[in-house]
């Protein structure tokens, strides 16, 4: 244990005495802070503030992942090049300690950089908001309540299922239960045509003195048309021009929520235009209920991202401990790229394999022949099963959209990513490293 402590101390000194690392940290923090002064004070203020947070988070997240990829390579690579491993390898310290120490040192440094970076972003957001003359309230972490499904009568669902079931090929492909489920799901989506209105009720919205946010991301047909939609909640009336697939937000005061805590929102489409507007269940219409301040949400984002970077660190320790310097750098780059694009890969795999998709719109034609599709599916599934991910949560997006990042989500990333995948990579690193002949050159 004392040997592991000594190795951690060695790695920390190695990193902290590097002028390059100090200069890079200073440049990133200066960039984050400087950006707060560079954001234009004119134009949509909330959008400008969100742009600042997006850009600052990207800078910090990219730097942190780069750091956790670089540090283990530096620890192992420099030692191999300088042959200090020869001396260290003769000491009564188990090889596992070398792996653990480099991982711990990398995680400690990255954690500190991330924590300091979050503090700088918080300060920068405050500066930016003051310059814009607004509060950081726009970034408050909220609990999201999607619009409840539209009530569907059993008779209407049966009618649609029968209609769909008349297509023998469709029935064969999805089965009777599948067709019935699709019919119900299809009917449960809030959909309006010209002059129609619908009232959506959230039964547990309040009471909330500070009011709530409503986020709308409608699909509009024809897609290039703008739909002027009226939203009414109690005496509050809000009009918005909805553009196909573009999100917009508005606030409702606490008074819009009824004494029973329910909030009823009536959506009305103008009668003079021939339009179809619908709100997909995934992200069409949702109520954002303020929970925690921006600072607290930022800290949670940092925590979640730290769990992710620690998991990536497990893999970069594996590559640093077992591969030569150039190959391990390449491997680390691939790991970082795959880990950062895991959400995109997952989406792509789901689309290509038909395991997920929109409940509306036309069927997406399969771009690959069945045999290749199976190979693609297995390859992507295999990669996703191994590489660390943020489990579909992008902390930067959550921050900007004002969604609360739950401790549960951070714990899930820590459990699945850091412990399971990162830990697995460390065990593999130890198995390979303990057989390594440190006396060999190269």
């Amino acid at each position: 244990m004392r040997g592991t402590g000594a190795l951690i101390g060695l790695a920390l000194r190695q990193a902290l005495r590097s002028r390059g690392l100090a200069a890079a940290c200073a440049a990133v923090y200066a960039g984050i802070l400087g950006l707060a002064f560079a954001v234009a004070a004119e134009g949509p203020k909330e959008a400008n503030l969100k742009f600042y947070v997006t850009a600052a988070w990207l800078l910090l997240a990219g730097f942190s992942v780069g750091l956790i990829a670089y540090l283990p390579l530096r620890f192992f690579g420099a030692e191999r090049a300088g042959r200090q491993a020869l001396l260290l390898g003769t000491r009564p310290v188990p090889r596992a300690a070398f792996i653990a120490a480099r991982f711990c040192a990398g995680a400690l440094i990255t954690g500190a950089v991330l924590a300091a970076g979050c503090a700088v972003i918080g300060a920068g957001a405050g500066v930016c908001a003051r310059r814009l003359g607004i509060e950081t309230e726009a970034l408050t972490g909220c609990a999201v309540r999607p619009a409840p499904p539209k009530p569907v009568s059993a008779g209407r669902a049966r009618e649609l299922a029968e209609a769909l079931g008349r297509d023998a090929a469709f029935l064969e492909r999805h089965g009777a239960d599948g067709v019935a489920a699709m019919a119900r799901e299809s009917l449960a989506v809030w959909r309006l045509t010209e002059g129609q209105s619908a009232t959506i009720v959230w039964p547990d919205a309040g009471p909330r003195e500070g009011g709530v946010r409503v986020r709308v991301k409608a699909r509009v047909f024809p897609p290039l048309e703008l739909a002027e939609v009226e939203f009414r909640a109690g005496t509050e009336i809000v009009r918005r021009e909805l553009q196909n697939g573009v999100a917009c937000e508005f606030r409702l005061p606490g008074a819009a929520i009824g004494p029973d805590g329910a909030l009823g929102l009536t959506v009305t489409l103008p009668a003079d235009r021939k339009l179809l507007v619908y709100f997909p269940p995934e992200d069409g219409l949702a109520l954002y209920l303020p929970e925690i301040g921006f600072g607290a949400n930022l800290a949670r984002a940092g925590l979640l991202f730290f769990a992710f970077t620690a998991a990536v660190g497990g893999f970069t320790v594996l590559s640093g401990a077992t591969l030569s310097r150039a190959v391990s750098a390449l491997a680390a780059a691939v790991i970082v790229f795959a880990a950062l694009s895991a959400n995109m890969l997952s989406e792509a795999a789901a689309q290509f394999t038909g395991t997920r998709g929109h409940s509306h719109g036309e069927a997406v034609p399969e771009p690959l022949p069945p045999a290749l599709r199976a190979v693609w599916q297995k390859a992507v599934a295999g990669m996703l099963a191994v590489i660390p991910t943020t489990r579909g949560i992008d902390p930067g997006v959550e921050l900007v959209e004002g969604r609360t990042i739950g401790f549960g989500a951070a714990a899930a990333v820590a459990a699945h990513g850091t412990l399971l995948r990162g830990g697995g990579a460390l065990v593999l690193a130890w198995l390979l490293f303990r057989r390594r002949e440190l006396g060999k050159r190269g």
Partner: protein, 258 residues
């Protein structure tokens, strides 16, 4: 006298990426070193001295044969805790100061903090680096680095010390003090296994030696026995070494590839 080091049929073949034999560094080496003696391994450049030492230290695994160090396998942690190593070049972390280097290695040897500090101070004094204790190793001259490296080898108070070319880069005074130190360690019952090109120094301190050439042991034994010439007249180590090399060297690469 019990042996602290025993090698039996040790062979080391370095292979290329595809696993094909590239170099035979050691061929069927048998060697024994007794407790409390100074043993010198002699040989030309590339004879396999460093490879042999690294096998004894567990830094390389033998392709065949067996090495027993202090009664255990070279990689055993209990064995490692009882040995010290001075490599042929001073592979130290340049960003650490002399004191930090010794504290690091003391920590790796498992010494408690206060004991490690005392040990580091004592060794800094011993190798005459107290004045430079706060300077990073990267700023040291070659001789200073060599002395610091020697100090790190001694930090765990080892029973068996492996010294690879210990006097390379040292001035005559430094060389003299290292030789005195070796004799002092011997007096304390420690065993020293050293390799060197400087035959005069070896002749002065070694109790026994072996000559290694192209991976094979040409001869090994007590100094007095090996250097005893015909009619009881002693030969110099240099004469003996040259005669052994010129008369006995035989490449083993062909044998390794067969």
């Amino acid at each position: 006298m019990a042996n602290v080091l025993e090698l039996a049929g040790v062979r080391k073949i370095f292979r290329d990426f595809w696993g094909r034999p590239r170099v035979c560094a050691l061929a069927d080496v048998d060697l024994a070193v007794g407790r409390g003696e100074i043993f010198a391994l002699l040989g030309r450049n590339g004879a396999g001295k460093s490879t042999l030492m690294q096998i004894c230290l567990g830094l390389l695994a033998p392709t065949a044969g067996r090495a027993i160090v202090l009664g255990g396998a070279p990689g055993d942690l209990r064995v490692r805790g009882r040995i010290g190593y001075l490599p042929e070049e001073s592979y130290l972390h340049g960003f650490l100061t002399a004191r930090e280097t010794l504290l690091l290695h003391a920590g790796l040897c498992g010494l408690p903090r206060h004991e490690a500090k005392a040990r580091a101070e004592h060794l800094l004094e011993l190798v005459d680096l107290r004045a430079a204790a706060r300077r990073p190793a990267a700023e040291f001259s070659k001789g200073m680095l060599r002395r610091l490296c020697l100090a790190q080898a001694l930090v765990g108070d080892p029973e068996l010390l492996f010294l690879d070319e210990p006097t390379v880069g040292l001035d005559p005074l430094g060389t003299r003090s290292v030789m005195d130190l070796l004799l002092r360690l011997k007096g304390l019952g420690r065993t020293v296994f050293l390799s060197s090109h400087i035959l005069g120094e070896v002749e002065e301190v070694a109790d026994s030696f072996a000559i290694l050439d192209r991976g094979r042991v040409l001869c090994a034994g007590a100094r007095a026995e090996l250097l005893a010439g015909e009619g009881g007249a002693a030969r110099s180590l240099e004469d003996f070494f040259l005669a052994a090399i010129q008369g006995g060297g035989r490449p083993c690469g062909a044998q390794a590839r067969s």
